[in-house]
Structure formats: C-alpha cells, structure tokens
C-alpha cells in the first residue's frame, strides 16, 4: 500500500484536531485519543520500515507533483528507523504521561495533549520530508510546540523558555539562510536534487557559506558544545511528562537532520575533502563529551544531571558522523536509536521518583530499591546501557564509535568516549549506592532489623512503558547486528570507506 509514508503524519495530525475539539468538552478523553493516534502512527512507521528494508527507498509525491516541482517524501532505511524510534518513544511517553500530567497540569490537559501530538507530528515530519524548505516549516512547528510545552512548567520555566526561544529562532533562521544560499546557487529545494547539483559547483564560496549556516543551525538546535546553554535550564524546569518527551527526541532528530544535510544535500567527498572542518568538529565533539560528563558529575538534581548527559551524548553522535568512515557512520546512526531509548528510560525513572517523592535530588533516591523496586530495576538497565555494559545497546554503539575512532586515527575522540563511560559509571554507582543503602530515614539503619519495606512503587500505567523501554534496550542490544546489516548497511553513503 503506497500511502504508508503520509499515514505516519495523518494519524497524529487528525488526532490533534479531534483533541482540540473534543478536549474542550471532555478533557478525560484526551489521553486515550493521543495513545490511539500515536499507535496508528507507529504501526504505519513500522510497516514503512519493513517496506523500505524489503524493496528499497520509497518516494511519495505530495499533491501528485514530481519532485523538483512538488514536495516529495523520500523514505530510506535511515529515516524509516528514526521514524520508528520517534513514534514508538512518543507512544511510550503518551501512555506514561497520564498520571504525572493529572498531578502537575491539572487544568490544561487538553492543551497539553494537543501540543504533545503536534510536537510528535513536527518531529515525524522533519524526519520524513525530502524537501529542504518543508523541513524548515516543520522545524518551526516542533520548536513552537516545545516552547509552549516547556513553558507549562512553573516559575523558572519562563525565563528558561525565553532563552530557548531566542536561541531556537536564531538556529531556525540560520537554517533558513542556508537554504536561501542553496536556492540562489542551485534553484531547487529538493534535497536529492540539491545533492546532484552541488558537486558541479563545489568551487563556489556561496555553497560553503550555505553549509556553514546549515551546520550552525543544526548545532544550535541539537545543543552541541558552544551552543548548549539553553538545554539544561529548559529541560530541567519543564514538567516531568514534557521532559520525558522532549529530551529523547528533539536533539536526536536534529542529529538526523545534520546527517541528512551532510550526506544527502552535500556529498561525502565535499564534507571531508573539499572543506577541512573535520579537526574542528572533532574537537567540538570531544569538548562536548568531556564538558557534559564533568558538569553532570557536579549536579545534585538528577534531572539536571541527565540533561548534561544528553549534551555529552550529542558529542558522541556528532563525533561519530564526522569520523568519516563507515563504522563511525554506523555508530552515529545506531546511537540515535540507542540514545533515544536510554534517555526516555532514565527520564521516566526520574519522573516516577518526582511523582512519588516530589523532587528528584540525589537524596530523594534514598532507599528507593526497597520502596520502588520495579522503577529502580528499569533504572539499572538504563544506567547499564548509558555506561556501555554489553548486553544493552549502549555497548554496541560505543563499540562501533570506538572502532571508527581507531580506524580513522582520532584517538582523542576514543579516549573521550572511554573517559565519559567511566564518569557515567561513577555517576550511576553514586545513585545506586544512595538508593541501595540507607533506608528512607537518615540515621544509620540497624542492619539486622527486618524493616518492613513498604511497597510504594509508581502506578502500572507508568511502570509498563518504563519496562517496555528497558526491555527494548536489551532487545536492541541483542539484535544489533541485525539492525546494522539489514537497516544501516545499505544506507551508508558511497564515499565512506
């Protein structure tokens, strides 16, 4: 059935209308409606992925017009994979968000779910579109919805969101400027079309400046090192359900956009031989990894610590993409999936702790193993994946990134990866220690007394998605060679050796 690609967008879009209209009268219906919409979207995403893997890339012409003149949806294995990740993570968070939203955003439930599903539509649109300008419009939709969602938090959220708005707009306008320069030199907006024209003008400076602006736009959106100022404040002050949704998806989709720009609009030999940016970008990635991990060490608030870890993970992906060899590319694209799952799992755990104990500072984890065993069980899986312990998927993305770094001789990047894994190990051991050791009270627990462990774990509607993502981490780890050979291998751009 060739209408699959557009179904991914139509399902959440029409749910958004239903939510606005119905939500006004009966807010209770919003959450199930969102889950149904996202279910439809993720099923069609999975079907698209299956179709793409079996029979090669799909090209869907919007409005019936052929590509350079109309807008085209170009779906190959890479963006089908990211589509599946985005829609399934959003589905998990939609199921998870029921209780925290009721508790934190009592009055604005229908608004929240409308913005929630429009953000997912925006992200899905960014991932699937094959047209440079359409990507800008969807970037703006995703950005606006995330501004509104984050601003739903209280007090300090407004100032954090205002900074996010300013830097987000600067990023989007840089992207628009880049597309403008491309339009001036190539005359077309379709990514693949641009890709075919760029090699012939590789000498011109306008193409170089266009690449500079596109990259600056992407890096601002994904919060790479020098441009990461807005991310920690914005994601920490956002309500729990919002940070569970925004943290795993926004930055990963921007990394995907960077990959799309580097390897579809431009070509491998343009990025790695015509311009000599590789050392600069590798340096940025290394600094991002080290800075993110060290700042995470210094945090008391676990949610803020996780946001700094996101900044470090971005360093992984950018470094992987700019290594310039096949296993670096595999590592980067595999890490988009792995990191999405890891971040959603850890943020859901923090969300459950905030839901149960009001706050997520490190002291609030005290005695969590005894009172919230299931949540902490999933936390251990997520932590293991973040550290890079084998059976989970975090290990395999580190494996590819490290072998890529070894092959291309970027030892600084390799050492940064190992150092950040060790720092992650220290971070999570510290939390496991607090959770494992002292009972909920502060004084020294008498080891021999059988303190009855009051079982006060979070409700099943929060535990099920949490465990689904934790087990998905394991499954992705075990089937990683399947993912790499069947999905990523055929998509590796030609020039990468």
């Amino acid at each position: 059935m060739d209408q699959l690609p557009i179904l991914i967008i139509v399902f959440p879009l029409f749910t958004a209308f239903a939510l606005t209209l119905l939500g006004w009268f009966r807010p209770a219906v919003c959450q199930p409606l969102t889950v149904v919409g996202l279910l439809g979207s993720s099923l069609s995403a999975i079907a698209t992925l299956a179709q793409v893997v079996n029979s090669g890339p799909i090209s869907y012409h919007l409005g019936g017009w052929a590509p350079p003149f109309g807008i085209e949806y170009r779906v190959d294995a890479l963006n089908a994979m990211v589509l599946m990740m985005v829609s399934s993570v959003a589905l998990l968070v939609a199921v998870y968000a029921r209780k925290p939203v009721q508790k934190e955003l009592g009055g604005k439930i229908s608004n929240f779910y409308t913005l929630f599903i429009l953000l997912v539509t925006g992200l899905l649109g960014i991932t699937i579109t094959g047209d440079a300008f359409n990507l800008y419009v969807l970037l703006e939709i995703a950005a606006l919805t995330s501004y509104a969602l984050i601003a739903l938090g209280r007090g300090r959220a407004y100032m954090a969101t205002f900074n996010y708005v300013i830097l987000g707009t600067v990023g989007a306008c840089f992207y628009l400027l880049g597309v403008g320069f491309l339009l001036i030199k190539t005359g077309t907006l379709n990514m693949v079309d641009i890709g075919s024209i760029v090699p012939s003008l590789s000498g011109s400076r306008a193409i170089l400046v266009a690449f500079a602006f596109l990259m600056m736009g992407c890096w601002l959106k994904m919060a790479l090192f020098p441009f990461h100022g807005w991310l920690p404040n914005a994601y920490t002050n956002a309500p729990t359900a919002v940070s569970c949704l925004v943290a795993p998806l926004m930055t990963k989709v921007s990394v995907y956009v960077m990959l799309r720009i580097m390897f579809t609009m431009y070509s491998v030999d343009w990025v790695f031989s015509v311009i000599t940016w590789k050392p600069l970008v590798m340096a940025l990635a290394v600094i991002a990894i080290l800075m993110g991990s060290c700042f995470a060490l210094a945090q008391r608030n676990i949610k803020r610590m996780l946001t700094y870890l996101i900044v470090a993970e971005i360093g992984y992906m950018v470094g992987g993409a700019w290594l310039g060899n096949a296993s670096g590319y595999i590592g980067a694209s595999y890490h988009i999936l792995a990191d999405g799952l890891m971040t959603v799992c850890l943020f859901m755990v923090v969300g459950s702790i905030v839901y149960k104990r009001g706050r997520a500072h490190i002291e609030d984890f005290k005695g969590a193993f005894s009172t919230m065993p299931w949540t902490m069980g999933a936390f251990i899986l997520g932590a293991l994946s973040m550290i890079g312990v084998p059976p989970t998927c975090g290990f395999f993305s580190k494996w590819y990134l490290l072998s890529g770094a070894y092959q291309s001789g970027d030892y600084a990047f390799g050492v940064a990866l190992l150092l950040s894994s060790l720092i992650n190990a220290v971070l999570f051991i510290r939390i496991v220690e607090t959770a494992f050791f002292s009972a909920t009270s502060d004084e020294e627990p008498d080891p021999h007394s059988h303190q009855e462990t009051c079982y006060a774990d979070s409700p099943p509607s929060m535990l099920l998605p949490l465990w689904a993502s934790a087990l998905a981490l394991l499954a992705m780890g075990l089937y990683s060679s399947e993912i790499v050979t069947r999905w990523i291998q055929p998509v590796i751009p030609g020039g990468l050796l």
Binding site: G155, A172, G358, R359
Partner: protein
C-alpha cells in the same frame, strides 16, 4: 562603485542581519530582544525577495495576450522573464507567518516573566532567580504548588 550598484540589496540584508543578531543576543531588555528577533527575520525575508526580483518584471499574475479574452492557456503570456519569481515569494509568506507565531510566543513569555519577576531587564531577572536559589527551601523546587 559598480560593485555596490550590483550588490546593494545583499549589503542591506547583511546590515539588517548583523543588527538583528546583535540586538537579540546583546540587548538586556527582553522586549528589545523580541524587536531584534523581528529585524533578524525580516532581513532574511528581504534576502529571499531580493533574490527573486527581476529588472523590469511585474507581479507574477499572468497577463492576457493583448486583444485575446479567452480563458484557455494560449491566451496568456507565459514568458518567465517578464514576471517576478513566485517561488521565493511563497517561501517568504511562510517565513512571515512563522515570524508572527514566534513573536506571539515570545511576547507571551515576556508577559509571564514580567508577571513573575516584575521586570523586563534580563540582569535583574537573573539576580532575582539567584536570590530565589539561595533561600530555596529544601523541598520547594520545580513542584511548588
């Protein structure tokens, strides 16, 4: 001077870009940041429109062949050089609408910040927040009811 005469539209765009960018990041007052944002977006809109302009071209609405009144495609002049470039104008329609939406959102946030801290100056807000941080009660955090 011939060089300026040929590229003066890009020069204007660059000047507007620089002022907009500087105002957005450098200015202290939040409203001035929003104004800077508008200047920045309008500069890019001007860049696109100036890219699509042609010397001596009219608006891209097809004109009748002189004397013909039918509605078929043959009775309209469709030579591209006499009409301005429609594509860039459409893209900029979208950019204007996006500009309005972002400005609306930014002003809403400024209003909320003003309601929260009583001032629009960024430095005053920051030390308000840092004061708040110091005497923060142990449990009073992002979930203060």
């Amino acid at each position: 001077m011939a060089w300026v005469e040929v590229h003066y539209n890009y020069l204007l765009v660059i000047i507007l870009l620089m002022t907009g960018l500087w105002a957005m990041i450098g200015k202290n007052n939040l409203i001035k940041k929003c104004i800077g944002m508008c200047i920045f977006q309008n500069a890019i809109i001007m860049f696109y429109i100036s890219m699509g302009a042609k010397k001596g071209a009219t608006i891209p609405i097809l004109k009748h062949v002189p004397g013909a009144h039918g509605h078929g495609p043959e009775s309209y002049i469709s030579d591209p050089t006499i009409y301005a470039n429609p594509l860039t104008q459409i893209l900029m329609l979208t950019a204007i609408v996006v500009g309005v939406a972002t400005l609306g959102m930014a002003l809403t946030l400024v209003q909320k910040i003003y309601r929260e801290y009583g001032t629009c100056e960024e430095d005053e807000i920051l030390n308000c927040m840092s004061e708040e941080q110091d005497h923060e009660l142990p449990l009073q955090d992002e979930l203060k009811a």
